[in-house]
Point group: C2
Chain length 591, copies 2
């Protein structure tokens, strides 16, 4: 496995020049987020990522987390030390409110830093990622007492958090949750049931773990409205805030997974001995609504994993392609490394340009979430929230698909060595493969985009985005390269507009058709929005503060994306246009 070099240059460029830090730092809540602070934080995070987390990535894959015979889960060698260092830096609380002990920095920065953790060591970074979700949830819905007991300790990293949604029969369809919560006289609940796929469901890195659990109260209606949310700590907390007696929840097994071996994916059994002590969060029956609070941020974070793996796989492939000599230079006759071959270059630049485009897309979404949550003007908040809602399924869906595609390309660049585990290229594919699945499968993302984000407002949000994209490319006074890029890209915008119109008219009375074209529509829109950000990046490369070497390399990525990746939007548009619902609908009995 090669070293990891945090892509600080590109992150800074995107934050400062393309997305515009000011759009966020103008908000009073983020007034302290100066450009210098951003750079300093990226620098520090980069050191921890490359120096501490990245070297543990392969060890984590080989050792995995293990459920020992004593019932405790042991994380891989070095994991706990790394976690302590992570907490010392205060990183868990980077985007948590200052009032609760966090740094209160914008998500724009939090997302950038998140990419570094995932690139360095995705299996490790899942632990803080899940805790961040729990933090967000309790910040919004926890009582004063719950926040005092649990939140501050999660923000400091002293305790971690988990999300307990899935049960064997209830995955994408949470209405099927069967775990129960019986009320006790003291206001607490006794929780019983089995939860699966619980990331960091048990480990030894902290003195307590805060499980957030979906379960049904006895009187609850069927379906999602009967589901409530509960805090179930691994150790019941004493009055003084210290972990007390062991709660009735235990890890009964860890999954044997394709990848992210370092991350313990637990089957948790609640209530084998009478019921685990749990505390209701928010209102009864609002469990799923509470979960939705953190959905956008969680999906953004998973999207960042796609970016992160693409970047890491790219760096490793470049490093191999530079060293590996096969064939001779046609000009000098000397042995030449494979990085000089056109086909290898195509694979590498495809990996790089898509990683960078997905990065731009995710940071753009993060900034919109910052505005949506913290802007003083309600109108601005609403506008940004609408935009973010539209972007999030693209970030989650497209970026994680790219993560898989790029990790696979990374293996290909390595030739035979890519298939050998010690090379490390294969781990990226194995790790990347989970991201299109969890936190809502990419199919669910696509349905969210076409259903809730397109059809529900009859296309208003998409139209507003299209208008904004069109303004960018129709600016006068573009130089030659830019006007060429603008022309190429204008076609993709026109086409997106056409596809969107067609969908709105064709899907009015057919949810079946919407389902059948949701995935290509997600890919088409994602490529268009990412293409727009690559175009905007191209425009900014002549800014006076841009270093020439960076401008050249970045220009290459942008031009490649616009010329070679954006045409895929065409292909998706054709797929959508050619989809007859009946055709697919007839298939079920034919498989």
């Amino acid at each position: 496995m090669s070293d990891y070099t945090p892509p600080l240059h590109d992150l800074r460029f995107l934050i400062h020049n393309v997305i515009g830090l000011q759009t966020v730092s103008d908000i009073p809540a983020f007034a302290e987020t100066s450009p210098d602070l951003v750079d300093a934080i990226l620098e520090e995070a980069g050191k921890l990522a490359s120096g501490v987390l990245a070297p543990l990535n392969r060890i984590g894959d080989q050792e995995g987390s293990v459920l020992q015979t004593d019932g405790h889960v042991r994380t891989p060698t070095g994991w706990k030390d790394a976690y302590d260092k992570f907490c010392e830096g205060g990183w868990q609380g980077i985007s948590a409110p200052q009032t609760e002990g966090g740094m209160g920095l914008p998500l724009l920065l939090g997302a950038a830093v998140g990419e570094l953790w995932h690139s360095a060591n995705m299996a490790f970074a899942l632990c803080p990622m899940l805790t961040a979700g729990a933090i967000e949830l309790l910040t919004a819905h926890g009582s004063d007492e719950q926040r005092a007991i649990y939140l501050s300790r999660m923000i400091s990293g002293e305790w971690t958090g988990t999300m307990n949604l899935t049960e064997p029969q209830a995955g994408s369809d949470l209405s099927k949750v069967r775990s129960t919560a019986e009320p006790e006289d003291d206001g607490s609940y006794r929780i019983t049931g089995q939860k699966i796929f619980i990331t960091y469901g048990d480990h030894e890195m902290t003195s307590n773990i805060v499980h957030l659990v979906l379960a049904r109260t006895p009187d609850a209606p069927n379906g999602v409205k009967g589901i409530s949310l509960f805090i179930v700590p691994k150790f019941v907390v004493n009055a003084d805030g210290t972990p007390g007696e062991r709660n009735d929840v235990k890890c009964v097994s860890l999954e044997h997974k394709l990848g992210i071996h370092g991350s313990p994916t637990a089957v948790l059994s609640f209530g084998d001995n009478g019921g685990a002590k749990g505390y209701l969060v928010g209102h009864k029956g609002h469990g799923l609504a509470c979960m939705f609070t953190m959905m956008n941020n969680a999906r953004l974070a998973v999207g960042q994993q796609g970016v992160a793996i693409s970047e890491r796989a790219y760096q490793q492939a470049v490093s191999y392609a530079r060293d590996r000599k096969q064939g001779k230079s046609p000009t000098t006759g000397q042995d030449e490394s494979i990085i000089h071959l056109g086909d290898v270059q195509r694979m590498l630049i495809r990996m790089r340009s898509t990683a960078e485009a997905a990065r731009a897309l995710s940071l753009y979404a993060a900034a919109q979430l910052d505005i949506a949550h913290h802007h003083e003007d309600e109108n601005e908040r609403t506008k940004a929230q609408t935009r973010a809602n539209l972007l999030i399924p693209m970030v989650k869906g497209w970026s994680t698909d790219l993560g898989v595609e790029n990790a696979s390309l990374g293996i290909q660049v390595h030739g035979g060595m890519g298939f050998i585990e010690e090379t490390g290229a294969a781990q990226h594919l194995r790790d990347a493969r989970i991201a299109p699945i969890y936190e809502g499968t990419n199919g669910i993302q696509a349905l969210d985009l076409i259903g809730r984000k397109l059809l529900r407002d009859n296309g208003a949000a998409v139209r507003s985005l299209i208008t904004e994209m069109r303004m960018s490319v129709s600016k006068p006074h573009l130089d030659d390269n830019l006007s060429k890029a603008a022309r190429m890209f204008a076609h993709a915008i026109d086409q997106l507009e056409q596809t969107t119109k067609d969908i709105l008219s064709r899907c009015k009375n057919s949810s079946g058709l919407a389902q059948a074209i949701a995935s290509p529509y997600l890919r088409q829109t994602s490529i268009c929005v990412a293409g727009w950000l690559m175009f905007r990046s191209l425009e900014k490369l002549t800014d006076s503060d841009i270093e020439k070497g960076f401008a050249k390399a970045k220009g290459l990525s942008c031009n490649f994306f616009l010329a070679q990746i954006v045409p895929e939007a065409d292909f998706m548009a054709q797929q959508i246009a050619n989809t007859r619902h009946e055709l697919l609908h007839e298939t079920a009995p034919l498989f």
Copy 2:
């Protein structure tokens, strides 16, 4: 892991109705290959594949082949018994000449049967696949004595064969081979060197292993012309044909690979104790030329692996999608299985239609090879050889890329369960990932297509194919559905013609540009040719011997491929048109 059902219906349809068995059985050498014989052989092979090999697939993955402390390689539980059954059926010699003890059946049938082995158990099937290459090589280049000693025993399966090409510094570039062969007084050679990535380089299933080894004689020139081919048996063969003393070749390690764990990938060390006894095959310096003899068949076989994994992953995904209940039917309100969701249907039909299209492509190539090798008319042989040469890189490159894409989709259909190893879906992705790499990486396939098969004859072979495809779709009297399909497909042909013309003119003086567009060109041509075969399949569905249920399901695959997959050729054409060589050429220093 789900059961495996051999796709006999589709194989029979393609062989009898689409490719046309008669194009092959009209050749005197194959006069005995009657339709009934074909069906009987497919039936028998299907039984062995589904009943014996498929149940061992998961065991092979879990146990792997192991290099024991005594220096012997142990294959997984059940492997040897299965191998014995495989030999009892005479399957190793299915396409080997009757004069040498084989069945002498056409490759068209051999390829169809090969798909079944790979679908059932790819790691197992690699052993006969490599032996088949060795058989072909010795059939063409072995002396009478070599054929008498080695060939008959390989055809019966009594001994297996291996291919020893790669060394650590010599992969795609075999001119870098360093292994040496010193002549001995008795006419044999002493072989010294290290070979890596040797599939079934050692195992305990047979009493001897016939290694075919590339090495340099002392007086040999540098580069590929100095490389000769040698037989190096694991046990030196006694005068009576029995295995004698252990030769000086040993397995020093097995690779720890992403997939195909059951297949031992050996590092072989030749000559640690003075030199392994080897025997020259063919002429000195013609080692690589000898290897080329079997290249087309070997690449066809690897392409079949892509088809095979696509089919197996598809079957498993369908089985899961039928059983897995999430969500409710919008009409009945009852729990419904996910196979009724449009997005899941899209994934499944994409897997199926591409598997079937790639299958058609590979069988078409196999039939062309049969004609090229055995037709009585030299003109027909040349024509078929030219066509086969054009098709083989598509079969190998495109089908194996599809294998990876489809195995990945198969995981996605499973949701979270797909990421859990015991489900078996992940194994398909891990196994599939090698096929785009070995037997010439897919980048090499693309360069072969654009260099040797397109530019070298100035486009003649491609033009002839285009003409033939155009004739198919411009036939009069097509019914409604067919004329619609024909119109859609005619566009793809026109575009392929245009792209090809452009490439011929642009690449004349730029090998750099050819390299940079080779991969999208391979994908574009493959999709077009496969689309043509799907169109021809559609035409044949009204044949009187076609069962209605099959016709409906197959029609769906064909229509989906033409409407949803063929437009990707458009995307590839745009990529090619937008590629400026300079752009890529500049990249090397910028990565």
